[in-house]
């Protein structure tokens, strides 16, 4: 999607002509339905469907539990049949949309089982694991990424809750959590190399990387305010950010390196906050001088590093 204002700047800079600008806007109008629009539309239809099922399941007392389960089974068979039909027709995009319906109705079917068999009191995240296991095969329906975009967050949400619950104190351990997500990122990348046609690998890599990035940011901010080990965690976060940035730079993934450089910048700011609190840098004249030098140092160092990375990216 291109914004007209961005295109105006490109026209003013002489990079594109006004005609090209109009052509680009026309192209955007033709393809105006973004991924987000489609995803929200699917979600809306699904919510409507599940809501209707829930109303029927919860209130229609004349329907026996067995009949409710049978109706859900028929619905699952129907969407599976639809997926298979379009797979046989080799219409992959439509097949994948049917598979997505199957994925969503599988989630609804777990809700129905919970309601009919009065299953509760167990782990709140268990249905997520069952849903992920039940729909794992759908990842192999096609080479498109649509199902993976829904399945992977489900899987990651379940695995984080499960790991956190089994070894609850793992979340007290900075290194364990980070190594766990680094392993997931690595598994995703290896899957992508090993089976390039399997979209799950690339999606796992990207989504585990986002989780890793958010976790690092969380730890850096917390450690800045002296939680989770304070300065020790902050220095280890620096170390991890450095190692990860170096690894991705080695593989010429400069966009990811830039993200980690931003995290390093955040760590510098939080180090400044931590020192400020610890040594009362904001309370005395000398303290303010030291904190000012630290801040200027950070402001000079970080952009230099970013520029260096950008240069490497351009020359790559």
């Amino acid at each position: 999607m291109f914004k007209p204002r961005q295109l105006d700047r490109l026209v003013a800079a002489g990079i594109i002509t006004p005609t090209q600008k109009l052509q680009i806007l026309d192209f955007d109008n033709d393809n105006g339905r973004t991924w987000l629009y489609r995803a929200l539309m699917i979600l809306g239809i699904f919510t409507l469907g599940v809501g209707m099922i829930s109303i029927v399941a919860a209130n229609w007392q004349d329907i026996s539990d067995m009949l409710k389960l049978a109706a859900m089974f028929i619905l699952l068979l129907f969407v599976a049949g639809g997926t298979l039909y379009y797979l046989k027709q080799n219409k992959m995009k439509i097949a994948e949309k049917w598979a997505l319906s199957e994925f969503l109705f599988s989630g609804a079917s777990i809700g129905l089982i919970i309601q009919v068999f009065q299953l509760s009191g167990g782990k709140i995240y268990a249905p997520l694991g069952v849903w992920a296991a039940m729909t794992f095969s759908l990842l192999f329906v096609s080479k498109q990424k649509l199902i993976s975009y829904f399945w992977m967050p489900l899987f990651l949400a379940w695995i984080v809750c499960w790991v956190g619950d089994i070894w609850w104190n793992i979340f007290e351990s900075f290194d364990c959590v980070l190594l766990f997500f680094i392993a997931l990122v690595a598994i995703g990348k290896m899957l992508d190399w090993w089976k390039p046609n399997f979209s799950g690998g690339d999606v796992l890599f990207r989504e585990a990387l986002v989780c890793l990035y958010l976790l690092l940011a969380f730890y850096i901010i917390s450690a800045g305010f002296d939680y989770y080990g304070g300065l020790t965690t902050l220095f280890r976060a620096f170390l991890y950010v450095g190692i990860l940035a170096a690894c991705f730079a080695k593989f010429k993934q400069y966009r990811i390196v830039r993200s980690f450089v931003k995290l390093a910048g955040l760590a510098v700011v939080m180090l400044y906050v931590n020192f400020g609190e610890r040594f009362g840098l904001f309370e005395t004249g000398i303290g303010l001088v030291i904190s000012g030098v630290l801040l200027i140092g950070a402001l000079v160092f970080v952009p230099k590093f970013i520029r260096r990375v950008l240069k490497e990216k351009i020359h790559a």
């Binding site: 209130n59 007392q61 598979a99 068999f117 167990g122 296991a133």
Partner: protein, 135 residues
């Protein structure tokens, strides 16, 4: 041929697993013995949230003689449960459960060492919503 078979397997796994799960729980219910356990509202302020009741088990007033060795197997049960109810019965049920004169129980299908499955809610011995009897 092989690709066709693969497609069949890939698409029908969720439906097959749905049947497997249902079969598993039906079998668990069939194999378990019915036990009645006294319950109390988990939190009176949140007695009815949505279409379920949150409750905890009142072991002090439960008849433990129905279990083997006459010991209540507390470790096999969770601290709290939900019981799903139809929307239109919610107000009636809320009134019945809030009445401290009433005796509320849940009938579980229970096998030693396994997680019990709730079958029906009894208020003064009458089934509110069971597999067999209606309130």
């Amino acid at each position: 041929m092989l690709k066709n078979l693969r497609n069949y397997v890939v698409v029908f796994v969720p439906a097959v697993l749905f049947v497997v799960f249902c079969g598993y729980f039906l079998l668990q219910i069939a194999l378990g013995a019915e036990v009645k356990v006294r319950i109390q509202g988990y939190d009176p302020r949140d007695l009815l949230a949505g279409h379920y009741i949150r409750y905890s088990i009142d072991w002090e007033n439960t008849d433990c003689s129905q279990f083997s060795n006459k010991i209540c197997p507390q470790k096999d049960f969770e601290q709290s449960y939900k019981f799903y109810v139809p929307q239109e019965m919610a107000i009636v049920l809320e009134r019945e459960i809030r009445n401290i004169q009433n005796q509320a129980e849940i009938v579980f299908s229970y096998q030693y060492g396994k997680k019990p499955i709730a079958l029906q809610l009894l208020i003064n011995g009458k089934s509110f919503k069971g597999k067999n009897i209606r309130f």
